[in-house]
């Protein structure tokens, strides 16, 4: 609204002064006093798994700090990390470790939650547990009928995530045996979907479907099954007994400063971790493994 350059410059100067003040205060007093003075804009993009909590945090953080605007977008872990490296966003949300080509770009990791990935089937499927070998056989397309794994005589509809998905990356590694150097991918006949929401929709409505999804997304439309005899639960994953799990992360380029740091600290605060994170994921301080 103020088009006069003088006034604009003044506002910019105030913003910078405030930002400096915030950083000084934050580093000096441990982040309590910054709330009143915080001002600015935080741009966040990346993993659709982190998206819901990041959005919740964005809303609560800017409610508490009316001068701060937090823009959160999805797109997948790779999109977040790429945009962070390119300087388009301040924070890249990710649900996987950095790829070899992303290492060494000065990215700093902030673990904010621990996520359990459940193997899910349609509730009409009478299967409750699958072994390591059975999961591999199904997702690699070697077994195409539920009968072969103790189910009814029905074709298996495999549903997986898209290339950009951190969930897919972790699933391929922890369930299918892929590593950073060895590529193992699900069968080409698998249906690909681009978010946890779509995964829930497809597996929930297709009788013979099997897929994988963040435990937080499992509802009455899906049935989470045990993997190697271990049920996907917060407890089993936190101790490392249930293997398909990963950290949800925020990456920043260099140390987080100012409102970016304020936003990340807010997500790590006990209140947010208890109220929001614990609803769907494991609180970061409850995780015993590394």
């Amino acid at each position: 609204m103020d088009s006069r350059p003088g006034k604009k410059r003044l506002i910019a100067a105030i913003c910078i002064a405030l930002a400096v003040a915030v950083v000084t205060l934050a580093s000096g007093c441990g982040g309590q006093t910054q709330k009143q003075a915080a001002r600015g804009r935080v741009k966040v993009s990346g993993s659709t798994t982190v998206l819901p909590i990041a959005q919740e945090a964005a809303a609560e953080y800017s409610d508490a700090n009316p001068g701060v605007r937090v823009d959160v977008q999805g797109g997948g872990s790779s999109v977040g990390v790429t945009q962070l490296i390119q300087g388009i966003v301040d924070i890249g949300m990710s649900s996987r470790n950095l790829n070899p080509d992303e290492v060494g770009k000065g990215l700093i990791n902030h673990d904010i939650a621990f996520d359990v990935i459940a193997i899910v089937v349609n509730p009409s499927m009478p299967i409750t547990n699958l072994s390591d070998a059975q999961v591999k056989a199904i997702f690699l397309g070697k077994v195409k009928n539920w009968k072969a794994v103790g189910g009814p005589d029905k074709p298996i509809v495999v549903v997986i995530r898209d290339q950009a998905s951190g969930t897919r990356d972790i699933f391929d590694k922890k369930a299918l045996g892929a590593t950073d150097t060895k590529v193992v991918e699900s069968t080409g006949s698998a249906i690909q979907c681009s978010s946890n929401g779509v995964m829930r929709e497809i597996v929930g409505s297709t009788p013979n479907a099997i897929g994988y999804i963040s435990f937080g997304y499992v509802n009455q439309n899906l049935k989470a099954i045990s993997f190697k005899g271990v049920a996907p639960e917060v407890k089993t994953a936190a101790t490392g007994l249930y293997p398909i799990a990963r950290f949800l992360r925020l990456y920043t380029k260099g140390e987080a400063k100012g409102v970016v740091k304020g936003y990340i600290d807010f997500m790590l605060s006990d209140k947010f971790q208890n109220d929001i994170v614990a609803r769907e994921y494991v609180k970061i301080k409850d995780v015993n493994i590394k």
């Binding site: 797109g75 690909q192 479907a209």
Partner: protein, 288 residues
């Protein structure tokens, strides 16, 4: 004085029109050049046979074959046209020849309205109604080539119908009258006189409908299943070139990104090839 002003204005108008034409011409040229340049790394590093003629698409392990998706595009488009062409031309015959004027106009308006529905809406509609319907009838997952083709039928129908009706209307009324005067029934006139004389226009209508079908992305992506396999089964999930590009472009960098541009190039070549070949067929028929 006035004459000079008019002359000036003429020149200006000519110049402006020339600019308009150049913008689209140069635009197309630049798009071609840009897409070609971007796809060069894939063409040189992967090689034409492995890029264009392989169905092995596993970008993570360096396999960039796009044939499965090229086939998916052609397959869904052909299936869609087999359904949409008779349907669209039939609707056009009804609107122009059979229905009372008011009814015809009404039907026409509704079909034109269909063209204005954003594709994401049609896709969502298909996701909620068509996919479960196919699933319950066939016992498959519901996602796949059939669902995609049917979505394309809906998307291309307005184009085919309105343009076909237009070309039927352009047939000289004397022809129809002469046919009736010879004692031909209405069906005979339509079948023997109207449709053959409007043939060129009808073919162009189908070509343009095809263009819409080849390029459609959003609605197809929602129902095709986005699997990377090559399949000629209507009930299996697959991908088209457009859906693969949109599915993977967020992740892509390096050769992977370039391979997606190569798919865009393929898409361009495909539409150019289809349009040219069908034009040739229509010309041949005309001369025969």
């Amino acid at each position: 004085m006035r004459a000079i002003v008019t002359g000036d204005r003429d020149r200006w108008v000519k110049l402006v029109m020339f600019c308009c034409a150049s913008v689209s011409f140069v635009g197309v040229l630049l798009i071609f050049l840009f897409i070609f340049r971007e796809s060069l790394p894939a063409i040189t590093k992967v090689g034409i046979p492995k890029l264009f003629l392989s169905t092995d698409w596993r970008p993570k392990s360096g396999h960039y074959g796009m044939l499965a998706f090229t086939f998916g595009t052609v397959f869904t488009t052909v299936v869609a046209m087999v359904i949409a062409a008779p349907l669209g031309i039939g609707a056009a015959v009804f609107i122009d020849q059979i229905a009372p004027e008011k009814v015809g106009k009404g039907v026409r308006r509704v079909i034109e309205l269909l063209a204005g529905i954003p594709s994401v809406v049609i896709g969502w509609f298909a996701l909620i109604l068509l996919v479960p319907f196919i699933r319950s009838v066939t016992g498959s997952s519901g996602f796949g080539m059939l669902a995609a083709s049917l979505v394309l039928v809906v998307m291309s129908l307005p184009t085919i119908t309105t343009l076909s009706a237009e070309s039927l209307r352009a047939v000289p009324v004397e022809l129809k009258e002469a046919s009736a005067a010879m004692g031909a029934t209405r069906w005979q006139s339509i079948y023997k006189i109207m449709i053959p004389s409007a043939r060129e226009g009808l073919i162009i209508a189908v070509i343009l409908g095809m263009g819409r079908a080849i390029g459609e992305t959003m609605a197809v992506q929602m129902v095709i299943g986005n699997a990377s396999q090559a399949t000629a089964s209507l009930l299996q999930p697959g991908s088209t070139l457009t859906t693969r590009i949109v599915q993977d472009m967020g992740e892509a960098s390096g050769v992977f990104r370039s391979a997606l541009f190569a798919q865009a190039l393929m898409l361009l070549l495909l539409s150019v090839f289809l349009i040219i070949s069908i034009r040739l067929i229509s010309r041949e028929r005309k001369h025969a």
